[in-house]
Amino acid sequence: MSEPHFEREVDRSHMQVSDEVAIQIENMNKWYGQFHVLRDIDLTVQRGERIVIAGPSGSGKSTLIRCINRLEEHQQGKIVVDGIELTNDLKNIDKIRREVGMVFQHFNLFPHLTILENLTLAPIWVRKTPKKEAIETAMHFLEKVKIPEQADKYPGQLSGGQQQRVAIARSLCMMPRIMLFDEPTSALDPEMIKEVLDTMIELAEEGMTMLCVTHEMGFAQAVANRVIFMADGQIVEQNNPHDFFNNPQSDRTKQFLSQILGH
């Protein structure tokens, strides 16, 4: 089996994993009607960890990370994010959403607002940041994702890769402590995938806690310190990337890896 490669040298000097727990999921179950989507999920994420979640489509990996910021409701078990337990209490949900950034497959930028307005909206209205300060922060993150010159354009005028980088910057403007990525490169043309992955690698190098659902195994190899393989709503295998790719244990994992890396 060929091991995935990633051209970029990744600087791991800041990628320290602390003992502090960022996310604690215990015995979590979720159903859509009668369909049991997530089954007995147990997962602990340390601060600074970069976790890649892989698996066939329909395995529940997106649903899992969407439960962490309550875009989906779980029916059983416990999710604690940043020391706050997710319950039906709207205040807790709002608190958690302020700490957790999310990047979507289809970017979900607000098409009626300029790039800059997309970035400053949540800081101004949710964090009550003064407008001037919010704009400074927004420009800082736009420079970080290397598109400050697009600030006054509308999302529809940008390429897919640029839009996804704006979406990452938009999340960062809220100063989140955890970032969730839901297949951030799946809707992109091949030549744009790299620019988005580069941005994500930079984030990882700065020590951001990241959970990333992706099919980019090169990215997993280069950045992740843990790869989780899911199938049928369960965590089937988790390991460090080296062992995960070179020495998969379960048959499901082997089959999956041979399908996505086999050619």
Binding site: F104, P111, W125
Partner: protein, 438 residues
């Protein structure tokens, strides 16, 4: 044997091809005519029939317009002049009626020495909506917009200056309570503000107006609702209905999508009931039944009652139009707003509604136009609408007995101008929003 050919499948273009003009006969007027009017024997036939119908219409109606008489004092005089000029049996319009009675079409029975008041109100209407509708109007003018309803009501109906001022004070009071209590929770703030305002309107505002009026009698001549008529009535009802039905429609549309069962059922029942009942029924309710239900002695102005009913009617339609706009938004917009931590109202106000309303503009404007035209139905509850109420009144005059088409043409033309303006504005707005976003 040319095996060199077989080896040259690989191909590199060294010069790019320049653009060429399309072959002649593939563009211009001739092509358009041939493609659109004469593309086959059937289309050619349709074109010829269409031309003939148009021709017949013009031949039939043109003389009626061309023979129009402006200078006469009665329908009889008009007819005499037309026969005199164009011979026995010639038809012609008697516009003289409009020259004599235009003011009744516009103002109904409003006292003529006070015509400046509705005219000024109409002018101020544009000052009030200008900053909302047009980008070239300075944004500072917007402070006038919330004051306009009070100014308009006072100018149109007249009376004591204290009435609009003290009613305005009630809103300010409610808002002050809301923002003070609102620090301890938005629902508490809203309820407290609403309760204080309602108590004020029920018990305090009447005596206060009397008190202030007794101390300092300032006011202008009162004009009763019964004197309203023509386009003054139609525009009062139309603008009142439009201004109130949009927010009401938005709230109903959101209510229909709410997770809260009570709000959701109320919205659905309201929308379906109102849409299922003819407007005339509701107008009869406004004019007759409300009197039975209200406590005896309450004098609830008929125009106010009709405005409320028209508002409810339009709001139900607008709610459904906006629901279409909400449904057209991708799920991701809601999710992104949630993920950024925006609460429900902020997400609606900043993300969802701006986009949903933009999609709904054509439907909303259609509803407005329909509602504005429907204001003529108030003739059935005894108000003098411009289309039937006023012409009937004019025909009751012996001089104009039997005049039939001219009022329709005149009133229809004014309605068309106003509605066409609304329609063009909505297209302008759509284009502007389109341009902004791309």
């Amino acid at each position: 044997m040319s095996d060199t050919h077989a080896q040259t499948v690989a191909f590199v273009r060294d010069t790019m091809l320049p653009e060429k003009a399309a072959p002649s006969g593939q563009s211009g007027a001739i092509k358009w005519l041939r493609e659109n009017l004469f593309s086959g024997w059937f289309n050619t036939l349709l074109t010829l029939v269409g031309l003939y119908v148009t021709y017949s219409f013009v031949v039939h109606f043109y003389p009626w317009f061309a023979h129009g008489v402006w200078d006469a004092n009665s329908l009889k005089e008009c007819r005499a002049i037309i026969t005199d000029r164009y011979g026995e049996g010639a038809t012609g319009a008697c516009w003289a009626m409009i020259r004599e009675r235009w003011h009744q079409f516009l103002f109904g029975f409003y006292p003529s020495e006070l015509y400046w008041r509705p005219v000024l109100t109409f002018a101020l209407l544009f000052v009030a909506i200008g900053p909302l509708m047009f980008q070239f109007v300075p944004k500072k003018v917007i402070w006038f917009t919330p004051l306009f309803p009070f100014v308009a009501v006072w100018l149109l109906w007249g009376g004591s200056i204290w009435a609009p001022l003290l009613v305005l004070a009630g809103f300010v009071l409610g808002w002050a309570v809301f923002s003070f209590v609102g620090k301890y929770g938005s629902i508490a703030g809203f309820s407290a503000g609403a309760v204080v305002a309602i108590l004020y309107f029920l018990f305090a505002v009447g005596p206060l107006i009397d008190l202030f009026q007794a101390m300092m009698p300032i006011g202008i001549e009162h004009v009763d609702s019964a004197k309203f008529g023509g386009f003054l009535l139609a525009i009062t009802l139309g603008v009142g209905g439009i201004v109130m039905s949009l927010p009401a429609g938005i709230i109903l549309a959101l209510g229909r999508q709410s997770d809260m069962l009570l709000i959701k059922s109320f919205s659905i029942i309201f929308i379906e009931f109102i849409r299922g009942v003819p407007l005339i029924t509701l107008l009869f309710v406004a004019s007759l039944l409300l009197n039975y239900f209200l406590p005896p002695g309450t004098n609830f102005d008929i125009i106010l009652r009709v405005v409320i009913l028209v508002t409810m009617f339009a709001a139900a339609y607008i709610a459904e139009v906006i629901r279409g706009g909400l449904a057209a938004l991708p799920r991701g917009q809601y999710e992104a707003a949630d993920a950024l931590g925006l609460d429900y109202w902020k997400a609606q106000r900043l993300i969802i509604l701006p986009q949903a309303l933009k999609i709904s503009i054509p439907g909303i404007v259609s509803t407005f136009i329909g509602m504005f035209k429907d204001t003529t139905l108030v003739v059935f509850v005894g108000l003098f609408d411009p289309l039937k109420g006023i012409p009937d009144f004019i025909r009751a005059d012996f001089n104009w007995k039997g005049i039939y088409w001219e009022p329709f043409v005149f009133v229809g033309a004014i309605f068309f101008i106003l509605n066409f303006a609304m329609s063009r504005y909505s297209m302008h707005l759509e284009n502007r929003l389109q341009r902004d976003n791309h």
